[in-house]
């Protein structure tokens, strides 16, 4: 009965462009780090749009925002659809914002068509997905109870704590976390990889997400003067760190599907004529194959041990983030796949290499995702780009899948 419903692709695009003006960077990206003025402004614009669409907006104690459209049975658990409006320091216009504004566009579309769903629909904006400060995906982690609110509040940021950051922008809400049942959660997102574009497809039916293991690695050698200190007696922590960067690259390149990245690396004391005595660095490992991910960590431990020995360095390799392989909910994945088929939009199944708020949600609430291609697979980059046509296609698939879920009268088993 909703076969002819189509979202308004032009309106969605215009909203994406207007949102991208907040924190716009000279290179065409956005800088909307959590707890900044830009974060505050983007939340304000989202609120204004939600209210204009007749939604009631609430903010929970960790700043997560929920904009509700009532259903025919307002007492039923709602279908949530959303993502995040925060960005990396040099992020793109679509990472996160696409999922939030696609959720909003669905509601606008239902309003236009005068369609009432059985269940309420809530458009969500999660706090601090990016992890540019704090850890990534913390808003959904706190919401789902995987991280205690008081522990999250106490986390330090460059300007204070998470709690003071929420206070600073006026988004420490008063609504309790996860205070009512949620039927299901949908998140649309740019792929952040090259697969859909390479295959000429418009939509990814996301069946799950990569497992992740993150580490910090510290090498300690001996600071010394760059001039008189002979090469043979040096204990240069940066030489050790350089070998570790290359080892991470080699380990990740050894088996298809592995990912390994060093994103942060800080030599100390950082003076041109001082041999670095200490280097701190981060390592991010991901894989669809959880057993092989464990092998990666074993290979890393061996490599670091050998590097430290070869370069006469001490080291500390510390696990920091551990996320298991996430399977998404089969019924919801089926809704997305069927929507793509019915709409005749070219699609394939795909596994997410990135972490998303959907990964936390999937542990406690039936969840799935919809991907759209991004140009050259680039994200976390000011050059990140999508086409308006793909944006529209992905949002139509999301819309039909959300309508299907919002018209389910029965609850879903999480383990399905």
């Amino acid at each position: 009965m909703y076969d002819n419903v189509r979202i308004n692709g032009g309106r969605l695009w215009d909203s994406l462009m207007e949102m991208a003006e907040i924190g716009a960077t000279p290179k065409g990206g956005v800088n909307r780090i959590s707890f900044t003025e830009e974060d505050r402004k983007s939340r304000g614009l989202f609120t204004t749009w939600c209210k204009a669409a007749g939604l009631s907006v609430t903010v929970d104690k960790f700043g997560n925002m929920f904009a509700r459209r009532p259903g025919r049975s307002p007492e039923l658990a709602p279908v949530m659809v959303g993502s995040h409006l925060d960005s990396q320091p040099t992020g793109g216009k679509f990472d996160g914002a696409y999922g939030v504004l696609a959720g909003l566009e669905i509601v606008r579309c239902l309003n236009d068509a005068g369609i009432e769903t059985e269940r309420p629909i809530e458009v969500v904006n999660w706090t601090n997905e990016e992890g540019a400060i704090l850890k990534p995906m913390i808003g959904s982690e706190v919401f789902t109870g995987a991280l205690a609110l008081e522990d999250a509040y106490a986390m330090t940021t460059p300007t204070g704590t998470a709690e003071s950051g929420l206070d600073d922008i006026g988004y420490k809400g008063d609504v309790a976390l996860w205070s009512y049942p949620v039927h299901s959660y949908f998140e649309a997102h740019i792929e952040q990889g090259p697969i859909l574009e390479d295959e000429g497809l418009r939509v990814g039916v996301v069946t799950g997400a990569f497992a992740q293991r993150w580490f910090t690695l510290k090498f300690e050698g001996l600071e010394a003067h760059a001039g008189p200190t002979p090469m043979a007696i040096r204990r240069d922590a940066l030489v050790g760190a350089a070998h570790a960067v290359i080892a991470v690259r080699e380990i990740a390149s050894r088996v298809d599907g592995r990912r390994g990245t060093v994103g942060c690396l800080n030599p100390y004391p950082s003076s041109p004529n001082v041999i670095p005595g200490t280097v701190d660095m981060t390592i991010d490992f991901r894989h669809d194959d959880e057993e092989d991910l464990i092998r990666m960590t074993e290979e890393l431990a061996e490599a670091v041990e050998a590097i430290a020995k070869d370069n006469n360095l001490d080291y500390e390799l510390t696990p920091t983030v551990h996320i298991s392989r996430i399977p998404f909910h089969e019924t919801l994945v089926g809704h997305v796949r069927k929507a793509a088929e019915d709409l005749e939009i070219p699609h394939c199944d795909i596994v997410s290499g990135a972490g998303h708020d959907a990964c936390h949600m999937a542990k406690v609430i039936p969840t799935t995702m919809v991907f759209i291609p991004c140009e050259d697979g680039i994200s976390h980059n000011e050059a990140e780009n999508i086409t308006s046509d793909d944006s529209e296609a992905g949002c139509n698939v999301l819309c039909h899948a959300v309508i299907a879920a919002a018209n389910m009268t029965q609850d879903l088993e999480l383990s399905s």
Copy 2:
């Protein structure tokens, strides 16, 4: 006639320890970066001590300090002796301070012995030798005219400019730069390398200083998300930088006497889950053999070209510092060697691997240096250490050489 003159080693040591309280770090080093409160305090203590020794203290327009003891012929060009009181952020107690306070101890010793030299003697404290901010050895560079005062003033620091920095600590003096002839310049310093200690010697007769070539190197690739971006298509600037760190190490290790160091390396945007799109780094090459130093730079250029190609990166390799091999003045080197022989202090000829204010002075004024051993060859490190006996031996050699120069009635030819 001065054969029996000996400096007071205990007094010198006490002065070193008292000066080291200014900017003292928990690990036993000092943090006396230029234009900080610690810089101001160390200059104040030096002034107090100089005045107590009857010296007249002047400050030039770049903050260089000169404490004069008149000679029998006060109209003659003075002999200068000194070094610097600033330090690296995690520097040691002796790098620089030893040379300034050894100069002061010579004057105190001459006062005690009632000795009047033919020429005036000036104890010097140069501004910002370390280059922890600004470029290294800038005070002597400006003094000798190698760098124009207005250009030096305009250089930016973390808090403003060099000029505002001097104003902040009250050491933008009113005396013109190099406004009277200087007969000769002596600088005592810790070796900052392991040679004297390894050979069981107490004094290095410094015949010159290594040539230096510094570079900045920027790699540019493509920022992208650490999860979904397959390894094969990445343009990871940090992987390029890591190969460059190892190339610098390999080039410097290939031929005896070469030195190569990467002290600073900054990936951008520095987020654990973003592939670094840009890395800036520094390279410091040194060598006693100027022709082989040129070969090092050629090898670097080839290596960087290959690394950029292999990793699909753009790069900019920019020369920043170029210091020629410095020969010290044969007559003055002879005075130092003779003093060590007369005093029967074990010594050898040595070439400085580090840059010193003496290197700028040597280009325009007859100059030499005296080295003493430092523990394990370590400097630019809070663990930097010397023995009181070596401190005393080096200062006695310096004292006798300075007296010899200060009693020369003739001027010296620079080209000698």
